[in-house]
Assembly symmetry: C2
Homo-oligomer: 209 residues x 2
């Protein structure tokens, strides 16, 4: 497999393909075409073929791709063929929703614990996970060798939480708080911002007049 630098939008699409390919594989499907993949994930088949050209050897010209082999290589590239321990900071509704989200475990992301500065939110959750005080953050990250943190605190607390995560050794952050985090270049942040997504919709509605 060519290990070129893969652009981030391609990585996003590979993640979508992977989820579909895993479903197809578990249904016992052996060969799948770029048309079928594209239709399932809502991406033009020409784009699918371009993205999967990184995995050329699993294609059979004019027929399709060998599902199991392609799937396994895409998952290997995405590093979801291993388990990633994850922590969540903020045990409000959003943090609890994320901690109970089955899709994470299915893809190898294992929520180890939640953290919250509010003592009233600390303790054991019905799903068996613990909400720990922030003071336990550094030791947990170190002991469990955690690299990924999910921030679900309000905007005005997010930067401070990010700094605590980074000080503890976290290098990859999902940020749900509607604010831009200042982090060192070696820390990777993905922002998930509901307001921005809604504004793309209102922009589109406005364009239609």
């Amino acid at each position: 497999m060519k290990m070129l630098k893969i652009p981030e939008p391609t990585v996003v699409r590979l993640s979508l393909y992977s989820r579909f390919l895993n479903q197809a594989s578990s249904k016992g499907i052996d060969i799948i075409s770029s048309d079928e993949i594209g239709a399932a994930v809502g991406i033009p088949s020409a784009q699918v073929r371009k993205d999967l050209s990184y995995f050329g050897e699993f294609g059979i010209r004019g027929v399709g791709y060998r599902v199991r082999e392609l799937c396994s290589q895409v998952d290997k590239l995405l590093c979801v063929n291993q388990t990633w321990p994850v922590i969540i900071i903020g045990a409000g509704h959003l943090g609890l929703a994320m901690s109970g989200y089955r899709g994470l475990q299915d893809r190898g992301f294992d929520v180890i614990a939640l953290f919250d500065a509010n003592p009233a939110k600390q303790g054991e959750l019905p799903n068996g996970l613990s909400v720990l005080p922030m003071e336990r953050l550094a030791e947990t990250v170190r002991e469990k060798d955690i690299r990924i943190g999910i921030i679900t605190v309000p905007a005005d607390a997010a930067q401070q939480v990010a700094e605590a995560l980074i000080a503890a050794g976290i290098t990859a952050i999902i940020n749900f708080a509607p604010t831009v985090l200042n982090v060192p270049p070696e820390v990777k942040v993905r922002n998930i911002d509901l307001t921005v997504n809604l504004e793309v919709l209102s922009f589109n509605l406005g364009m239609r007049g």
Copy 2:
């Protein structure tokens, strides 16, 4: 203002600029430079200047932009200078988190009601909003002239919910379910997918070895 077709990544950035410009404006700042905007939202200043070239008349060469006028024009373009009624389908933790999210109202998105098929989840929430049965969806959308729906149901229910929304007259959807929705071309969907975002992180962690 030139009304060219603006690419979606630019719209996303305009939404980020807008939030920062509104903050600056409310602090009484009159003039702001592209360097300052870029530093605040984590985007190179050359990109900021390119994006804001749509709004050229608010720039003062070598100095910056007139905050209040720029802000008002960006908000007008994004159509956030008006109130958009919004409904949420799915009253689990995620739906409740979204319904209580202050950032929405601040930007003109007004959650009118939640809907859930489970009678145990129906009723009034502590924040005063109602969780209504799905049977009330169509009348609510019609009466309140709602165009935007947020889907927070599990993946296996999402397509059916999307179809109910579209049948009721919704044309813009935020989809949190980890599945691709099949919708007619006139319906705009923005997917917010935690797993995909996590896999971009695991990909990056893997690349570092």
